[in-house]
């Protein structure tokens, strides 16, 4: 708190007399930095669109290799026993009679307009299904990520470089939690807190109470993983000369940790967070199935089983887009914490 307040003091003092320093105006470090960040974000987003195109293309062609007739899947699977006429009609309706290249072209064209087609199994526009299912998954993954970071900071900043047994114990806890598989942890939490103690509902996706157990199941292993990296980094940072300098100024140990060391120590964890979002989405598939939550993960699982091509593609695209976007954000966050790396994208 005091830090920000007095840094404003510095800025004020600096701003008092701008004309005294002609060079300062033209090369305002802060404005320059923001400009570079913005430029970088744009570059990364452009690259992301390219990635999304590749994802769309890959999924489209790959899923064409799927065994079984998509028309049958549309008409309720092999047990549906549709007549030849209905098959022909559906084939035409879904454009499945055209050559693959044409289908791909049409598919891309519709994609650009935001039309992902109709879900075979739910007979609803894919975009509508996605709109309905995205929010619960987003809620789950972000709660888990935030929870994981909270655990990481509490665990590492307070225990790193302390007495041997304290950090050994914390380190052990991290290693064990990093080795816990989501699904097993999910089942254990379910058995203990939902069926045993009846503290939280075992299933559903309404209200914060249904969010607690699933996000814990996702957050604990992730926290273990990030904490291992952060602890190592913090241990290293605390041995740096600038930390010694800070101590020679009379800073207390806690101040040294929070004002100097922490910022350096979280860097590797931040880069890991980009990867972690992918792992969280993967985990969300299992967790949503276990806790019968609404969400993209469970939807994808069902779509694959029902051979619902458009929905599978749609979910893959949304997941990829989410991943790309999250990574742009993570990258910007990293640049913001560590401005040294601001070179050209």
């Amino acid at each position: 708190m005091t830090d920000t307040a007095s840094s404003n003091g510095l800025t004020n003092a600096l701003g008092n007399n701008p004309e005294a320093d002609p060079e300062a105006g033209s090369a305002n470090p802060r404005r320059e930095r923001l400009r570079r960040l913005g430029k970088r974000a744009l570059w990364r987003l452009a690259g992301g669109i390219l990635v999304l195109w590749a994802v769309a293309t890959l999924t489209f062609f790959a899923l064409r290799l799927m065994p079984g007739d998509p028309v049958l899947a549309i008409l309720g699977g092999p047990s549906g026993n549709p007549t030849a006429e209905t098959i022909a009609e559906a084939t035409r309706e879904y454009g499945l009679d055209k050559p693959l290249a044409v289908q791909y072209g049409l598919y891309l064209g519709r994609l650009v307009q935001g039309d992902l087609g109709m879900s075979y199994s739910q007979h609803l526009p894919v975009t509508r299904v996605l709109a309905e299912q995205s929010w619960p998954t987003l809620e789950l993954t972000f709660t888990s990520l935030a929870l994981a970071w909270l655990l990481v900071l509490a665990l590492t900043v307070l225990t790193a470089g302390r007495r041997r047994w304290v950090s050994t114990l914390a380190s052990l806890a991290e290693t064990v939690s990093a080795a816990l598989p989501h699904f097993w942890l999910g089942i254990l939490l379910l058995a203990v807190f939902a069926f045993g103690l009846r503290l939280f509902p075992p299933a559903g996706s309404d209200g914060w109470r249904t969010l607690v157990l699933p996000s814990l199941a996702l957050a604990i292993p992730l926290a273990g993983f990030i904490a291992q990296v952060t602890r190592e980094s913090l241990d290293l940072t605390l041995e740096q000369p600038f930390v010694l300098t800070a101590r020679t100024r009379g800073l207390s140990d806690l101040n040294v940790r929070f004002k100097h060391a922490l910022r350096h120590a979280v860097l590797p964890g931040i880069s890991l967070s980009g990867w972690a979002i992918g792992a969280l989405i993967s985990g969300a598939v299992v967790i949503e199935v276990i806790f019968s939550r609404k969400g993209l993960g469970r939807q994808l699982y069902q779509a694959v089983q029902a051979q619902d091509l458009p929905l599978t593609i749609g979910i893959s695209l949304v997941v990829a887009a989410g991943y790309v976007l999250a990574n742009v954000l993570v990258d910007l966050l990293y640049q913001w914490v560590d401005p040294r790396q601001q070179e050209n994208p």
């Binding site: 799927m66 290693t175 051979q307």
Partner: protein
């Protein structure tokens, strides 16, 4: 003579960086891994009853002397099933890691050695692969090739490949810029000799550790897929499949899910601890 002992440990000067290891840890981990490998090779040494034998009157026995880990809904001995499942899980883990590593080494070396343009292309391919979270990728593969052990292994391997590839690439680039590579060039060694005698051995060395830990991770991901019913089919004794079946009885027979899960955790934990121990041994000698 007065005496001043700094009561607070202040990490300013470190005489010697003592490795922060819990010495019992690595030995326990290596011991457990050895047992797992033995169980995979010769499960009959450990378990005496048939993992598939159905004994309806023994259903839902809690853990006890007769059945250490209890029995499942069909009266099968869970301890036997966990032991017999070791082979399957370990095989999946090793095979998937092998696939992941092979892809990663090819991509990583291409990126690290192929020049700027190839590197950029590899980087882009990795970006795209990363955009498919591993389980999403696995689900897509299962959608294409159907479920079963084969697709399960391929899916797990592919899911892990981009991460490893990035690591290999970074490693190759780092070693490439190392002083000793330049020295070798200045000495007059031809490129092929430098690559085979210095670059590859130095770049690949840390991957041994990653590989060890990777097997544990692969076992977890493969069991996640089995858990979703996309891998081994029941009643085959496989850890993930057992968890999946036990889930239906979670409210009243916890041991059906607890023990297979425990073995997954212990295996992953052991690979992590053993891998880290290996890393420390390597670094201790090298830095």
């Amino acid at each position: 003579m007065s005496d001043l002992i700094l009561d607070k440990p202040l990490p300013a000067v470190r005489v010697q960086r003592t490795p922060r290891t819990w010495r019992i840890g690595p030995s326990l981990a290596l011991g457990f891994l050895l047992l797992v490998i033995l169980a995979a090779l010769a499960p009959q040494w450990f378990a005496h009853s048939d993992p598939l034998a159905i004994v309806p009157r023994d259903a839902f026995h809690p853990p006890g002397w007769a059945h250490w880990f209890g029995t499942d809904q069909s009266g099968r001995d869970i301890f036997s099933r966990v032991i017999y499942g070791t082979r399957q899980s370990l095989f999946i883990g090793l095979a998937a890691t092998a696939i992941a590593m092979s892809i990663a080494i090819v991509l990583g070396l291409l990126g690290g050695l192929g020049g700027a343009r190839v590197d950029r292309a590899v980087g882009w391919v990795l970006e795209v692969l990363f955009a498919f979270p591993s389980l999403v990728l696995a689900l897509l593969l299962v959608a294409i090739f159907g479920s079963g052990i084969g697709p399960l292994i391929v899916a797990t391997g592919l899911g892990g490949a981009p991460g490893y590839a990035r690591m290999v690439r970074g490693q190759v680039l780092a070693v490439r810029n190392a002083g000793y590579i330049e020295s070798a060039k200045a000495l007059g060694h031809p490129p092929l000799r430098i690559i085979t005698r210095q670059l590859l051995p130095n770049a690949m060395r840390p991957l041994i550790v990653t590989l060890t830990m990777g097997v544990g991770q692969a076992i977890v991901w493969a069991s996640a897929l089995s858990f979703l019913g996309l891998g081994a089919r029941p009643p085959a004794p496989e850890w993930g499949t057992m968890l999946s079946m036990g889930r239906d009885f979670i409210a009243n027979a916890w041991w059906l899910t607890f023990f297979p899960g425990l073995f997954i955790v212990l295996t992953t934990l052991s690979t992590t601890v053993a891998g880290r121990y290996l890393q420390q041994r390597l670094e201790g000698r090298l830095s």
